[in-house]
């Protein structure tokens, strides 16, 4: 069995992994995990209370979690073009610097909208308006920092070439866009950056990767989303309770 990637394209980090693997022609078996249906990766891979279910990489006996670790692993193993994860000491440090900041300020924050608009309502929970407002403010602050401190006048977030950092960022921003907040509309610098990233990736690949999340609100409106199974409720409620 070759490389397997366990992914749910509704998840931002999963999309970053998918898009990277596809763009670089990395041969893999896609194992789709539908978190909305309460599916999870086979129990053998995860200890019982592991909260993060995807993405997961399985390469023979080697199992790896965490999108950043997976992206770095793939870029090294398949020797992707240097610019993705630059070998230069300082250039590579910039990628890690971005990813560190991203973990604190983007990850989590940008994922809240899926919970407030889709997942919580599916199990009959309404996230308080105060929390929704606080999240929007946090998203706005993060976007300002992203533009001012990272992008600046550069073509991409950490240099003049696209890197893993740009993929991770793009997918988080697409999450917010898909859930109804067009973050690019009032931010021409970020919009231009997005255009450049998507030009590197290719329109078809972007379309393919983004269409599940871009269709989510329509599915909600048409009541096409099945309610998650009861056994998924506890972990969902826990996640909802953690929304600041």
């Amino acid at each position: 069995m070759g490389l397997e990637l366990y992914l749910d394209l509704l998840s931002q980090p999963c999309r970053a992994v998918y898009i990277f693997a596809k763009k670089n022609g990395i041969p893999f078996e896609l194992r789709t995990v539908e978190l909305l249906k309460g599916q999870h990766v086979s129990k053998g891979f995860l200890p019982a209370n592991s909260p993060q279910k995807v993405p997961v990489l399985k390469d023979g006996d080697f199992v790896l979690h965490q999108s950043v670790a997976i992206l770095i692993y793939l870029s090294c193993k398949y020797q992707t073009a240097d610019h993705w994860y630059p070998p230069d000491l300082q250039a590579r440090a910039r990628v890690h610097e971005y990813l560190g900041w991203h973990a604190d300020f983007i990850r989590g924050t940008f994922g809240v909208c899926l919970w407030t608009k889709v997942l919580a309502p599916l199990i009959g929970v309404q996230v308080p308006e105060e929390k929704v407002k606080r999240n929007r403010a946090a998203v706005d602050r993060a976007l300002q920092l992203l533009e001012d401190q990272f992008l600046g006048d550069k073509a991409f977030l950490t240099s003049q070439r696209v890197t893993l950092a740009d993929l991770m960022a793009l997918e988080e921003l697409m999450q917010v866009v898909a859930l109804g907040q067009d973050v690019f509309e009032s931010r021409p610098r970020l919009a231009a950056w997005r255009g450049r990233v998507e030009a590197v990736l290719g329109a078809d690949l972007c379309q393919e990767t983004h269409s599940p999340i871009l269709n989510i609100l329509e599915q909600v409106a048409n009541k096409q989303l099945p309610p998650p199974p009861p056994e998924a409720h506890q972990s969902m409620l826990l996640r909802i309770s953690r929304i600041p």
């Binding site: 209370n49 193993k77 000491l89 910039r94 990813l99 973990a103």
Partner: protein
């Protein structure tokens, strides 16, 4: 001017950077930035890190923030022994996996416990509802279980038989709740044994030195009203 490290040893990630830099013999100037005194907000420090956070590194004209980025930079530039951040594809991936996981899991739990159990009541005179603290402690417990089950398992260190930067990041995180009187190691013999191994590998003296500030945090005098106002937004986040 040689390498400068801007650190506040009250902060977990700063301790990990300090211990690592000392351990692998990086020649550096320590620039102490006291966050509780608001020193990270100075214009001078903003020149080093516009995001005004510690740790930060200045190497000639090159400035760098974020502890993981700094650890990996130092490891490579100063040619640390391989086990700290291995060249081997899978061994390296294990370290990357830990470093990514801890950022969104253990880190916030450890910070919250320290602040809610000690810093807020003692330093800022803020009452923390018992339910809030209980919920935070439960979350820490969940993270510690994962740490033991998924990372440590039956190995000597978090990512295998040898110590790596992952262990430094983890141990400095866990000392945070310890400094607040939350004895995470007492009820977890497996983690306690791992801690001994990490301390032995790092060196007792260096370990004590790095933790001197945080272990004395409970003796900090209550802050004055002006500083209290400045720290108010932080308090909101921490409750």
């Amino acid at each position: 001017m040689g390498l400068e490290l801007y650190l506040d040893l009250l902060c977990q990630p700063c301790r990990a950077v300090y211990i690592f830099a000392k351990k692998i013999g990086v020649p550096f100037e320590l620039r102490t930035v006291e966050v509780l005194k608001g020193q990270h907000n100075s214009d001078d420090f903003a020149q080093v890190n516009p995001l005004r956070k510690v740790p930060a590194l200045k190497d000639g004209d090159f400035t760098l923030a974020e502890s993981v980025a700094i650890l990996l930079y130092l490891s490579r530039k100063y040619e640390a022994p391989d086990h700290w951040y291995p060249q081997d594809l899978e061994a390296c991936a294990r370290v990357d996996e830990y470093l990514a996981w801890q950022h969104t899991a253990l880190r916030s739990s450890c910070s919250l416990v320290m602040w809610q159990k000690m810093m807020l009541p003692v330093f800022l005179g803020e009452r923390v509802p018992p339910e809030t603290l209980a919920s935070t402690l439960a979350e820490l417990d969940r993270c510690l279980q994962l740490l033991e089950d998924k990372f440590l398992k039956d190995d000597n260190f978090l990512t295998g038989p040898c110590i790596s930067v992952a262990d430094l990041v983890a141990i400095t995180e866990l000392m945070h709740p310890v400094s607040a009187g939350c004895h995470v190691f007492k009820t977890r013999p497996k983690l306690a044994a791992w801690r001994q191994r990490v301390e032995a590998a790092v060196g007792e003296d260096l370990f004590q030195e790095a933790h001197e500030v945080v272990m004395k945090a409970k003796d900090l005098p209550p802050v004055d009203t002006a500083m209290k106002d400045k720290l108010k937004p932080l308090v909101q986040v921490l409750l």
